[in-house]
Symmetry: C2
Subunit: 177 residues, 2 copies
Amino acid sequence: MDMTEKMVSSEEKFKGRILDVRLDTVELPNGHGAFREVVRHPGGVGVLALDEEGRVLVVEQFRYPYGKLLLEIPAGKLERGEDPREAGIRELREETGATAGRFESLGQVYPSPGYCDEIIHLYMARDLSFGQAQPDEDEFLQVQRIPFEELVGRILDGEVTDSKTVAAVLKAKLLLG
Amino acid sequence: MDMTEKMVSSEEKFKGRILDVRLDTVELPNGHGAFREVVRHPGGVGVLALDEEGRVLVVEQFRYPYGKLLLEIPAGKLERGEDPREAGIRELREETGATAGRFESLGQVYPSPGYCDEIIHLYMARDLSFGQAQPDEDEFLQVQRIPFEELVGRILDGEVTDSKTVAAVLKAKLLLG
């Protein structure tokens, strides 16, 4: 069975600096019409950085949509035309001051495929050296180092909930043992 | 340091059937102003259902934002005022026909906390019995059963990318062993 939905029309409903929202009309496999509300996003990166003592660099910051502080791996949006790997290296350096001797892919995560086209590229950074963090003037975050196994436990306990952090840490746990 | 961002004003930019988009002005901890583009979503559920042979019920469906088929655990949005656990039981039954003797929480995942307030509630369903699936007339999906360890492998290989599926399956792997 071909399950493809064909676009019939597409209307821009919001054009922001981070995301755009479109309302598309599609033709379903049974010939019926349907609406699709779609958030268009440039894509992002998340970096699981492990120091020599087996601790993970994590960032605590206020996340306005939830109105509270969250613990996440260093992350950010792709800039226009930016290679995901370069974006990961840039975000790690800006948020934590770290540069990595080894920078490897941990795959991708699709955060909410029902309505959003964002792809988050995940990386693991090791052999770290440290310079000065360069957060934006208006970016407020606190970098912490949490032992890897403690972070795994805080995910399994339900305390850490961010999807890219869960995906990167649990994939690394199962790949590295 | 108090990292709270205080709302100064909030403007509705799009009101859809699934999601709303608001453009808020906030006051940062340093007194500066900033904009926040926020997608408001009712929240969702995802259900990792294991049959007696240790296979996971997965759903393959066309995901319009990505323009391709994705493999995901059964999932859906919360209806207005609906309890997340009841929504999980409902979505599992509608999409696969299964009802579960044991239905346990696997915590929550926040798919994209930079701009969206969605919370996905995760559950594990076991002791399954099967009736007739009841997909909507305009919902096209194919249910498959994939051995649990094979699904773990397809996540670690990077083939399965949906955030709720990654979170639920890898949490279950580490919690159940």
